[in-house]
Symmetry: C2
């Protein structure tokens, strides 16, 4: 038999008391597709909102093999040892899971998993990227209300997830390896330009010199990029997460960024833009999904796509006829 | 008194005969917001479709001051002298016009303007970026049916227009100036990664050495970017459009690109993806504009946005309530 649901207020109370079990149960409601769960979840989120927003949200990305789990463990322990409370979340739609996200595999972060000041929550596994990202965004609110002052949002660096992460974090960190070229294969074009810092991991042993060379190369390349809106010059660093080398410098860099953007007003500006983004993104996403999930339209859309590809029909005429059909069917159904 | 409209077939016949006056009149219908004009325009486009697709579509961007008009004139004359027929279009919503697009000012391309093998059409001036881009995309079909074998799509390089241009051209050329740094201010982050070639203009006189240095710098920077889907390595070139130096090499580079992507199948693949893009983009755009142009919703949306910014309401609850209201009002109105 399934466990009985609590009242929204009971969840909120538990979360505000920092009760991790209650937090986890509430996150499960956030992730649930059931209507009754969603209604409770939305009430919990609304009630947690006034207690949220005070954490530092850090996006971490990098292709499989770059050492993300080791990095998050090393950086995470660094944070909790200094009295911080860390929540690690992920945006990792199931379609991308096989490509190497770490959070399905908590055992790779043994120390952090058993740290009472760290909360690791794997990505919601089902749904579209937009849906998964939205749930992660909502989970941030709950984690912050529960007292976590640093949030990591991890993503695998191979898909469009980065844009979504970028729209919910204050600082975006890209992990790379030395030996520019092959390692870049997995990184999508455009991601490098989003990074507030690039860190070349595995800078240890024989690899130190190569990492340093890569650092200089990336530094020169970033210099050619247009200036950022934040007024911050993206930094390139090296570290060895495995040997806990350079982690402090990365943390200091993040703090330097935060100092700058809190002073120049960009921090709050970006947060506001993100809040607006998620309101409009949610509207736009649902307008589209309501259209594309309309069963009668699905077949018709596929057929029209073929006609467009065969140059029997212009893209624009196809779009217009599909929309006319959609609005007509909405009228008839209601 | 207004001129009488022709029948769709009469427009099509004129276009297929290469009659520039008829072509211009048809483009005016494409750009018109009037329903009766749009209906004729869509019929003309549909009938021209089988005669379209055979041109090479080249996107040209760069900030004001980079010398775009001189470049288009020089490159354009190079093409028409070799027997080509060139149409020059633009994506330049009015909001961006003041920032320095060239096509409002034909006089800056004197030679090309009077060239019988060149057709210069300024950007449609009204409407959203999406709307303007769509009209330009439709105009390409008519120009191709009229026998133009090369199409330039010009844009100003400061806004989101580049993404739109990118979704309708085969080759994307970014014009830059030497002296990386300040000149980059105007180029939006991410545009450099779209370019199939970067050309450093004004490489003449005292500027040759600086241009060559910039070329090497950009070449090294591009080398750090992830590989392109096309299998093409973006090139960096220098030219002096004013002195007609280096124009031939740019043309050869474009031909080299075309040879490669026609062989490896990317050319047709990209064209197909673009056709699909425009079908879905048109649907998505209209789903959104129908929502956001709903008068009752406009005020409500603004109010909810304020609540979201004031953290009285989560972005997600705001979105849900607005959508519920929208669908309800559609039901009541119809």
């Amino acid at each position: 038999k399934r466990k009985k649901l609590l009242t929204p207020d009971a969840y909120v109370e538990g979360i505000l008391n920092g009760n991790i079990t209650t937090l986890s149960q509430a996150v499960t409601l956030v992730e649930s597709a059931k209507k009754e769960h969603q209604e409770i979840a939305q009430e919990i989120i609304t009630k947690c909102l006034p207690y949220s927003g005070k954490s530092l949200r850090i996006g971490i990305t990098g292709v499989p093999g770059v050492g993300k789990s080791t990095f998050i463990e090393s950086m995470g322990k660094y944070i909790t040892k200094r009295g911080g409370k860390l929540a690690v979340l992920a945006i990792d739609p199931s379609s991308e899971r096989s490509k190497g996200s770490i959070l399905g595999d908590k055992t790779r972060m043994e120390e952090l998993s058993s740290d009472p000041n760290a909360y690791i929550r794997p990505s919601p596994s089902a749904g579209s990227l937009g849906g998964v990202a939205r749930k992660t965004r909502e989970t941030i609110v709950l984690c912050e209300a529960a007292g976590f002052d640093t949030i990591f949002i991890e993503t695998v660096g191979v898909g469009q997830s980065e844009t979504m992460v970028h729209s919910m974090v204050d600082f975006f960190l890209l992990l790379m390896l030395a030996g520019a070229g092959d390692e870049l294969q997995g990184i999508k074009r455009g991601i490098m330009e989003m990074a507030d810092a690039i860190t070349i991991n595995k800078a240890d042993g024989n690899n130190i010199e190569k990492a340093e060379m890569a650092r200089v190369q990336y530094k020169n390349a970033l210099h050619l990029f247009p200036p950022t809106d934040s007024g911050w010059n993206p930094k390139v660093l090296t570290c060895s997460a495995f040997h806990h080398i350079g982690i402090d410098k990365i943390w200091d860099t993040i703090q330097g960024y935060v100092d700058l953007v809190k002073k120049n007003g960009y921090f709050q500006h970006k947060r506001n833009e993100q809040s607006k983004f998620w309101m409009y993104e949610t509207i736009n996403d649902r307008l589209k999904s309501d259209f594309y999930q309309n069963d009668a339209l699905k077949t018709m859309t596929k057929g029209f796509e073929q006609k467009v590809l065969g140059e029997e029909m212009s893209s624009f005429v196809a779009a217009r006829e599909l929309l006319d059909f959609y609005y007509q069917s909405q009228k008839n159904n209601k």
